[in-house]
């Protein structure tokens, strides 16, 4: 968050990419795109492009990570070297490690882990093109892939960010807004209960703006949730 900037990112209530403050970028979700994975999803969100694949429940490696009374979720978020303008070095950096970790924990709340003692459920998220909001995109795609794999879950987890640009609270920052904006708040919720399973914040929000951002991100998650279910229905339809 650069924070202070003279850049005009909103003009007459319309953002540079033509969206209103409470509008999502276009989202396209396709379930079941990979043959080998037990479940998979391809998601485009604005210009973000993400693949997610799921294997499991399977034996947990390394052994010392096994839990006697439940499965663990081993999520792994990586960005392709060509997914950003400057080439990213392959492998897990500190940012990817943190995201992988908090996403793993978010899923352990909704997956019926207690049904699969000692097992592992592997969730692999590959960001192949990145334009702000990739962790929300990856988490959303992974939820669909888990459902596509038939992994028992309490619910899916939609994830969406709210943010602040030019002192206005907006939904789903695009790349310029992320670079020159004032705050970014990615959120993931369990739609059926409203529980918060992922929340981060970078930037500057007054207490009132925080409340607005929570409201906006929550409504973004609910909108996304519809698209996720729609994608799964299409997929089942297609398979039938």
């Amino acid at each position: 968050m650069a924070g202070q900037t003279d850049m005009e990112l909103i003009k007459n209530g319309i953002r540079m990419d033509g969206r209103k403050p409470d509008e999502l970028r276009e989202v396209k979700i396709v379930a079941g795109v990979l043959d080998n994975a037990d479940g998979s999803c391809y998601l485009e969100w604005g210009n973000n492009k993400v693949y997610a694949g799921v294997f499991g429940p399977m034996e947990c490696h390394p052994r010392h990570k096994q839990k006697a009374d439940r499965a663990i979720v081993q999520a792994r978020y990586t960005m392709a070297p060509f997914s950003v303008n400057d080439r990213k070095r392959p492998g897990l950096d500190r940012r990817s490690t943190e995201i992988s970790y908090i996403v793993s924990q978010a899923f352990e709340k909704v997956v019926m882990v207690e049904d699969f003692p000692k097992a592992s459920i592997r969730v692999d998220m590959q960001v192949v093109e990145a334009h702000a909001g990739t962790r929300c995109a990856a988490l959303t795609a992974a939820s669909v892939a888990l459902a596509d794999a038939g992994i028992p879950m309490r619910d899916m987890i939609p994830s969406c960010a709210a943010g602040k640009v030019n002192d206005v609270v907006v939904l789903d920052l695009n790349k310029e807004e992320d670079n020159y904006g004032q705050a970014d708040l990615p959120l993931a919720i369990i739609p059926s209960t409203g529980e918060v399973v992922l929340l981060q914040l970078d930037g500057h929000l007054t207490p009132d703006e925080f409340e607005q951002a929570m409201d906006l991100a929550t409504s973004g998650c609910m909108e996304l949730y519809k698209k996720m279910r729609h994608a799964l229905e299409n997929s089942y339809g297609g398979k039938a």
Binding site: I102, K109, V196, D202, P207
Partner: protein
């Protein structure tokens, strides 16, 4: 009795206490443990601080080196935060790299400091696009008795407030000056214990709680960074309430931080 049974008993006990607004150590659910800050004990560091939060003990040292700025911010200094979970601090800290937890901790502390604009990064530019000060914040956990997030953020803030730019040593100017500080971020971390939410959890409480929520405010009461952690959840209302509680409770840490500047 097995370890698990003990743990379940402890969990039950702590949850019922919390439901009544009580804690095992006698505190209220939104009460911090005793905090003590010492500064300037490490003469090889540009700034240093030791923070005691109850029995949790963190030493922070600041080093400043000269380097080149990033391409996308040629007029700004840089900052790097790292945490060392020293094996002497906790039996569960393996000498091997305890990567994920340590990285999450470093990154959350880093965001609290960075996003609050505590440090004036533009003031760390020596020669535009060529030479800037690089600030290294190294946090040494010496005794882990819970709530490393708040203790580390506090130690980092205190050490930064104690830091001096080593102009003379590096031949930049003939006088050393204090590192310019814009504002004071304070991090407050909550735990979900059963259906209750508690502030400043001890190690025992951490071992039975299901979710963690950290929020950092600046001195104007605005939010600067937040992080939900662990594999449990908070309700939307709990999160919003915690943020308000943080603003009401962080004065204990803020006072301690002010104390060292007098």
């Amino acid at each position: 009795m097995s370890n698990d049974s003990v743990s379940n008993l402890m969990k039950g006990h702590m949850e019922s206490l919390a439901k009544e607004g009580k804690r095992a150590d006698g505190r209220g659910i939104n009460e911090y443990r005793k905090v003590k800050i010492e500064i300037g004990m490490i003469s090889t560091a540009e700034g240093s601080a030791m923070v005691h939060l109850g029995k949790t003990k963190v030493l922070c040292g600041i080093k400043m080196l000269i380097g080149t700025p990033y391409g996308d911010s040629p007029g700004s200094g840089t900052m790097t935060t790292s945490t060392e979970l020293a094996p002497l601090a906790d039996q569960s800290f393996d000498p091997g790299p305890p990567r994920e937890q340590s990285i999450e901790l470093s990154r959350v502390v880093d965001r609290g400091i960075r996003e609050s604009r505590m440090i004036d990064f533009d003031g760390l530019c020596i020669e535009h696009g060529v030479k800037v000060w690089m600030v290294y914040i190294d946090l040494h956990i010496l005794d882990n008795n819970g709530n490393l997030f708040d203790c580390c953020t506090l130690a980092a803030a205190a050490a930064l407030s104690n830091a001096t730019i080593p102009n003379i040593q590096h031949g930049i100017a003939d006088k050393d000056v204090k590192l310019p500080i814009n504002c004071w971020p304070i991090s407050c971390t909550f735990g979900k214990l059963g259906d209750s939410v508690i502030l400043d959890a001890t190690s025992d409480e951490e071992s039975v709680m299901s979710a963690r929520f950290t929020v950092a405010h600046d001195e104007n009461g605005n939010l600067r960074a937040a992080q939900k952690g662990m594999n449990g959840s908070f309700t939307d209302a709990e999160i919003r309430e915690a943020v308000k509680t943080a603003r009401a409770s962080d004065n204990v840490l803020r006072e301690a931080l002010k104390g060292i500047q007098e």
